[in-house]
């Protein structure tokens, strides 16, 4: 069973539906017993980092998630991926779970710095289908080809985590697409909205 952590953030309809479509048993839950009993964990999330981290803290599940992340595969999706790193600079400074080294920073600042005079800077949020360039070989990519397209929606991105970056996409800067360290994985894009490509990534996660 896959435990999808329920901490009151985001719409989990598509994620649950995509796992069901793959024939995988999943449960949206905040129960420590269920999370412990699960054979893998998904940490979803949309919205602002500080708010989400506070909600997660309020569930009291953080120590359990950290402990479980050493024992079984964990996948953070979108904001859930950003929560995995050490720190975020989204509207202030917030500590993350620290499971993967790195910081979450605004895309806007880096894109403005890169913009050439007379040229319009790229739009933020980074929203739409972008090519996923696989950098390292990983079992999570068992069913993926190099250069498939995935669906992103975000305004902040994980930086300074190059060593743990498994795949990225180009949008002015190199946007961290997939991170991994031990059993802990994170994807910035939405596999549950990335068509067949996303389903194949979820399938591989379920087989890790």
């Amino acid at each position: 069973m896959i435990a999808i952590i329920d901490y009151g953030v985001g719409n989990l309809f598509s994620l649950s539906s995509s796992l069901a479509y793959l024939g995988l048993d999943s449960r949206v839950t905040a129960s420590p017993q269920e999370i412990e009993a699960a054979d893998r964990i998904i940490l979803p999330g949309v919205g602002a980092f500080g708010d989400a981290m506070e909600k997660l803290r309020n569930t009291g599940l953080i120590p359990l998630i950290k402990e479980q992340a050493e024992k079984k595969p964990l996948l953070g999706i979108c904001l859930g991926m950003q929560l995995l790193v050490e720190k975020s600079y989204e509207y202030g400074e917030h500590a993350g779970l620290g499971l993967i080294p790195g910081q979450v920073c605004p895309l806007q600042d880096d894109l403005v710095q890169l913009a050439q005079p007379g040229k319009v800077p790229l739009k933020v949020p980074h929203m739409g289908w972008n090519r996923l360039d696989l950098i390292k070989q990983d079992p999570l990519f068992s069913y993926l080809q190099q250069g498939e397209y995935v669906y992103y929606v975000h305004s902040f991105y994980a930086k300074n985590c190059r060593e743990h970056t498994l795949a990225d996409s180009g949008y002015g800067v190199r946007v961290t697409g997939v991170v991994g360290s031990g059993k802990v994985y994170g994807v910035q894009f939405h596999p549950e909205k990335s068509g067949d490509t996303g389903l194949r990534l979820l399938k591989a996660f379920a087989q890790l």
């Binding site: 539906s17 479509y21 319009v120 929203m127 289908w129 390292k136 190099q146 068509g195």
Partner: protein
């Protein structure tokens, strides 16, 4: 780099897909779930569902259909039609919509854009606008394009983006159903005032119209209905063609043919 998007739009009335020309004389086309499956396989980058039903019964049918689509189609789904309140946002988001498109509801209650953006995030709020030239100026129209509000459409677009609309759908009434190309003059004008993704709607008739559309860098996506429904333009072929014209596209088959180079 991010791809340009091709988006088929399904107008749903009483559980069936319909499409009118110049917003009148609706013609029944097909089953929305079947069509969603078809478009997903063909490589549509996103699907838009517009609920053009007025009745309570029709609305219930619509959310049932939406939920059925969201259980098996895993690409972004945008829903519009009859969105007037935050409760309407909630209703369709719970059934699997990713983005919610407001049009007349935002004209009646302009604060809705900001409220929804606060609650669900900018990326969730799509401002759809029906625009027509009146005495050489772009006017915003309401009620499915039947009523001139007298509002300056460019100012409306600018404010909408400023208040939290994450995307704008620009539908030109002047070119809608005419199939003689998108309203590039209007699209450029909107792109000038609003720095959010712009979805062009109204006027596509041929593949070349999309190629021309995407030479305008401010435009992010092309939306159409009847030309896709009638297969006058086939989405897979359209995307292949655009890629050959130098427009970056998400090609499902193309990706699978690539060697795994890592």
């Amino acid at each position: 780099m991010i791809t340009k998007r091709i988006i088929p739009c399904l107008d749903v009335k009483d559980g069936r897909v319909v499409k009118g020309t110049n917003f009148q004389s609706l013609r029944d086309m097909a089953d929305p779930v079947e069509m969603a499956r078809f478009y997903n396989q063909a490589g549509a980058d996103e699907l838009v569902f517009y609920d053009i039903t007025a009745s309570v019964e029709g609305r219930r049918l619509f959310t049932d259909i939406l939920e059925r689509v969201a259980r098996e189609i895993f690409i972004p789904l945008t829903v519009g039609g009859g969105i007037n309140t935050l409760e309407d946002f909630d209703r369709v988001l719970k059934c699997g919509a990713d983005k919610v498109s407001v049009n007349s509801g935002a004209i009646r209650h302009p604060e809705l854009i900001h409220q929804a953006a606060q609650k669900y995030g900018d990326q969730c709020v799509v401002l759809s606008m029906d625009i027509k030239r009146v005495d050489g100026k772009f006017h915003l129209f309401a009620k499915g394009g039947r009523e001139d509000t007298g509002i300056d459409a460019l100012e409306w677009a600018r404010q909408g983006a400023a208040h939290g609309a994450g995307e704008l759908v620009v539908n030109s009434i002047d070119t809608d159903g005419v199939k003689n190309g998108f309203d590039l003059e209007l699209l450029d004008a909107v792109a000038e005032v609003a720095k959010v993704p712009i979805i062009a709607s109204g006027g596509a008739g041929r593949m070349e119209d999309f190629a021309q559309l995407f030479t305008h860098p401010g435009v992010d996506a092309g939306l159409a209905a009847s030309i896709f429904h009638t297969k006058q333009v086939e989405i897979g072929a359209l995307k292949q063609y655009l890629q050959s014209q130098g427009v970056e596209m998400r090609l499902i088959k193309g990706a699978a043919e690539n060697e795994l180079k890592i």
